[in-house]
Amino acid sequence: MTLSESDFEEILGDVTKTIHGDLEWSESDNHVSWLKFRADIDSEDGYPLSVAGSYNPIVEKVSFALIYGGVGRVYALDLGVKHHNPTCENIGDTHKHRWTDCYRDKLAYEPDDITATVAEPVAVWEQFCDEALIDHDGTLAPPPALQTEIFE
């Protein structure tokens, strides 16, 4: 299925989006250098929405993304990585992707509402939820310590 930009704006503006309960980071069998979590988002209109988070402490990068079932990532915040827009601007180390009809999720901008740093992933999460109008009625746990080096 596809998603229109106006549908996306409606979803993003929906104030009933809620994540219930506490969230914790987890490791995976696939990788050892970064952590992740995933949670479903409830809403009155029943959008098939979930959120994904990932944090790589070795290279100091963190990302949060809104994922729409059947479409994929429609909104995301990245810290620690630069971006190139299809319109040819380069965007800095803190940027947000936002769904558009023309470019899907490839268009990014530098937000002025993210002041937390990569070293504070929980604070970044809270600021992400603020602009996305997601009410998280629990807490995101601080990331556990990882094996810091996998290569000698």
């Binding site: 990788h31 029943g46 994904a52 990585v81 996998i150």
Partner: protein, 257 residues
């Protein structure tokens, strides 16, 4: 400036930014991009005797963030191994890795590993829940792969005189089928679609009779969680229900006698 960064700058020019990330770790910002436009960063960890160039799992992390549920299936693992073989890199503990025996190899290794990151990130095209391809196109690809002949968007007259359009008509050695694909991202649309589909199958019921009788299949795109039990039960009154999340079962129904 770090000696390796200097060498990289001389060999590769200003498109590659190189600097110390932390003690003993260099960050190399390449001009390669993941499919969404994020730049590929590589990292050089220097050790005794050799150095390791790696993405520290960033390519897999990028893939994870597209769906929130990355699975390295055996097929995807084969694709990754194929990329690694071509590029002369390793896939180790979720990271793409290249070993440097000498600093002179830095430029070549950066290009090969950067290209490997881009190619592995193209696994994104194997994800089913992405917007590049519609569900109808996915079903079409599936029928092609499984060698099931089909016609697309077939218009048929109902008993009421109204014309209906089914998404696929298939013909296997044992069975011919009419398939209506139900796909939507909204619960309210799901309910409307199932009611309309029931009406369609009832009106086309004459196609179930006679020598060339057809099997009616309602294929529900349940990869999106908007369908309720009553939606399934409604269309089950007049058709066989198949779920797109279980394509093997769908194929069995198409081939069943």
């Amino acid at each position: 400036m770090n000696r390796i960064c200097q060498k990289l700058g001389e060999q590769m020019g200003a498109l590659y930014e190189c600097g110390e990330k932390s003690d003993g770790l260099l960050q190399i910002r390449t001009p390669f991009m993941y499919p969404d436009g994020d730049y590929v960063d590589l990292y050089l960890r220097q050790g005794a005797g050799s150095a390791t160039l790696t993405d520290y799992g960033e390519t897999l992390r990028w893939l994870e963030m597209q769906s929130g549920a990355l699975q390295i299936t055996s097929k995807r693992r084969r694709l990754i191994n194929d990329v690694c073989m071509t590029q002369g890199v390793e896939f180790f503990q979720g990271a793409l890795v290249s070993r440097l025996e000498s600093e002179d190899e830095i430029a070549q290794s950066v290009v090969r590993l950067g290209e490997a990151c881009v190619r592995v990130s193209d696994l994104w095209f194997t994800f089913r829940n992405r917007s590049v391809e519609t569900t109808g196109e996915e079903v079409e690809s599936f029928l092609d792969e499984r060698g099931i002949p089909f016609d697309r968007n077939v218009k048929l007259p109902g008993r009421s005189g109204k014309s209906w359009r089914v998404d696929f008509q298939t013909r296997t050695s044992q069975q011919s089928s009419l398939i209506k694909l139900l796909t939507t991202g909204s619960r309210s649309s799901a309910s409307t679609l199932s009611k309309t589909t029931l009406a369609m199958w009832v009106d086309l019921s004459n196609f179930r009779l006679g020598e060339s009788r057809m099997q009616f299949i309602t294929l529900i795109d349940d990869t999106v969680d908007v369908w309720r039990d009553e939606d399934f039960q409604l269309v089950e009154n007049a058709s066989t229900v198949a779920r797109w999340a279980d394509p093997d079962d769908f194929e069995e129904q198409l081939r069943a006698a």
